[in-house]
Point group: C2
Chain length 416, copies 2
């Protein structure tokens, strides 16, 4: 049974009721499931989400090795050595990284060894070159160096069986180095969500086209595409297409068959040209339509043929707001990432009063000027330049009528 | 003339003097130049660095348009209207997004208009549908709506000639929307630096290969590759190759001819198998060799055939440290990005004493545990797992012998 948090009354224009943002967020967290794994080569895995914890199948390092340049020998034989009574050894060979000294190190014998080289058999310490005096094939050690000193033991870095990386970790560059050391050339990560972005609007020309007559370029596809990528998704843009119910239904049915989520930009409200809500309902369930959120109240959420769908308002600022509040959370959840914003939060005091209305969440673009934050004079949801001039946004909660000047607020910064 | 900040004395093993980190950083800032521009389609430009400021060649919006759903008419005719004496208009047509009402709006006439639709000729205001009563083709307006109300004026969002985005801005998703609205389908961004990563070491197997005999998998290529990508570069890995001077010289000459920077991992110190320093000197200048930095003192910097080269120590932790301090800065500068770290900084107090040595900068891996930061017990530069277990690092400046327990230090977090 669909959970209808809020649907418009078909008898009248506009929304009967608007769902509170926190209920919509809870709906997302309850209904959207993280995708399964795929194998990736290490070179492609940075920034991806680990599908399962990694335990070491191999020890690192795989053999005892020198941690310094010097001489490998039996440490006991240096006891009592000092500058006046050095311990004397005969150098019988070399151990280099990748080319171990093959023989045994007997009493009174030493092997020249480079950092990282395997420790030869029967040697148990490395005397650093700095406390040796070398003459021909003789080496004098002027300081006691007990067994084990300057030796990096097999498994010292990573023991067999150790949990090296936890499930759901975002793989860092150095994690790939550790996986390589464990002999792993591929790693299982959560699959990237494939996200189809359907753009509708009779007035829209392809993105980047100069305005012509009454038509303007689609702005949302390039913006949403970049947001989806930032959140770990693989976007595919379809459109702009005309506001035509049959074509939209066909496009959504196709998209739902091949994508992990569908975002529809435009036609999301309750007017006669707003076909997206009905199309979602006919292919599945429209669980939310109308949200107590400014400037993105004509937002919808549901499922079409089992795939989550978000209806994003066509106005660019509303579209960004609805993406930030809902669509991004879905993409991140699908991809196994933290549902929290990737935006950095800072605290600042308001340079002037910020008015809002009770009963809805306000998404307010702001500028950060020194230690103060200034709400931007906003001309409406169509003022895209407000989001390029803004440094970030402030949310005014549903139960507040705004904030007075001087109040400390959290600013979410657009620059990550 | 090369600026030799520090070169090893050829007569003895080890470095004669080590360059202070801040001098090396200043050398980078002085000697590395940002690359030129390339054109990119909007869909590929998110996160890239704008090559030149963007001024608007077109106004946004390109025509006056409705900011609300309602009726377009002459606002003056609504003056004095209220619920008892509504102003009466005859609806003569519709204006929809992309399909303007073609006629003129005369006295006593109104055009039904949707948000975003062009305002018809001679109309100057939009009366929201909420304050209208519609009966057949008649509409009664119950509130005065002065000219200009609910109209989004041509150029209101972005005026022709306005500076929309500044040079060197990292393009945000919403910036791409604004560029699209300006009719731009391509944008000039700074070219991504092409970075060749040469990995050398007789002991190295390809990354991800299980250890075999005395040989171990190369770890640095996958790590450095991911770091270069994170900093906006396009990495290409060559190797692992044997420690062979002639082959390395040939590889570096080729790389310098086709890349914007070269990073050589391994063979960076002063031992007999450390060919990288000599090879750089023979193909250009080795300007720095040996840095007062732990755990990455065997780091080198120079130019080969005009291209910056960094010699990274082969030990993974030292390699990461040298990348963080120097190579990353070069990649970011080449790509026109801020030279500062992408790492987030937090302040925490030390859970215990952190010892260091005067005269060198220490790069100390730490864990953040609640409000405290714990220096990790480090077994040496080869302990790669210390960087996967660490949450970030603390730098101990050259002129300090460490920090006492309880001191507040800056932690640079590995997770961005």
């Amino acid at each position: 049974m669909p959970e209808n948090l809020s649907l418009p009354d078909p008898r009248r224009r506009g929304f009967r009721a608007r769902s509170p943002v926190d209920e919509v967020v809870a709906w997302i967290d309850r209904r959207v499931e993280t995708l399964g794994p795929q194998d990736l080569s290490l070179g492609d895995a940075a920034g991806r989400v680990l599908a399962a914890g990694i335990r070491a199948a191999e020890p690192v390092p795989p053999f005892d090795r020198a941690a310094m340049d010097g001489f490998a020998l039996r440490g006991e034989e240096t006891f009592g050595a000092d500058a006046y009574t050095p311990a004397l050894f005969r150098v019988i060979g070399q151990s280099r990284p990748g080319r171990r000294f093959g023989g045994n190190v007997g009493p009174g014998e030493a092997v020249e060894i480079a950092t990282g080289a395997p420790l030869p058999a029967s040697a148990d310490t490395v005397v650093p070159v700095e406390i040796c005096k070398v003459q021909g094939d003789l080496v004098r050690v002027v300081e006691a160096t007990p067994p084990g000193r300057h030796v990096s033991r097999r498994g010292e870095d990573i023991e067999v069986g150790a949990l090296v990386l936890e499930q759901r970790r975002i793989l860092r560059p150095q994690d790939l180095g550790a996986l390589s050391a464990l002999g792993m050339s591929v790693v299982a990560v959560i699959r990237r969500p494939e996200v189809t972005i359907l753009v509708t609007g009779d007035e829209l020309l392809p993105a980047g086209t100069p305005a012509r007559g009454d038509q303007i370029a689609d702005m949302n596809s390039v913006m949403v595409q970049a947001l989806v990528r930032r959140d770990g998704g693989l976007p595919r843009v379809l459109g702009p297409m005309a506001d035509d119910r049959e074509r939209l239904e066909e496009a959504l049915a196709n998209a739902a068959g091949s994508a992990d989520a569908v975002l529809i930009s435009g036609g999301s409200s309750t007017g006669p040209e707003d076909h997206a809500p009905g199309v979602v309902a006919s292919l599945g369930t429209l669980d939310v339509h109308g949200v107590a959120l400014r400037p993105a109240s004509p937002t919808g959420l549901g499922f079409a043929r089992g795939v989550p769908v978000v209806l994003l308002p066509g106005h660019p600022v509303s579209c960004l707001c609805a993406y930030d509040l809902f669509a991004g959370r879905i993409i991140r959840k699908l991809g196994g990432r933290s549902v929290d914003w990737p935006y950095r939060a800072i605290e600042r005091s308001l340079a002037r009063k910020l008015a809002s209305s009770l009963g809805r969440l306000d998404y307010v673009r702001v500028r950060v000027v020194g230690e103060k934050v200034e709400p931007m004079a906003i001309g409406g949801a169509s003022i895209l330049s407000s989001t390029t001039r803004a440094d970030g946004f402030v949310l005014v909660p549903t139960d507040l009528e705004g904030y007075p000047a001087g109040a400390t607020v959290t600013v979410w910064l657009y620059d990550l």
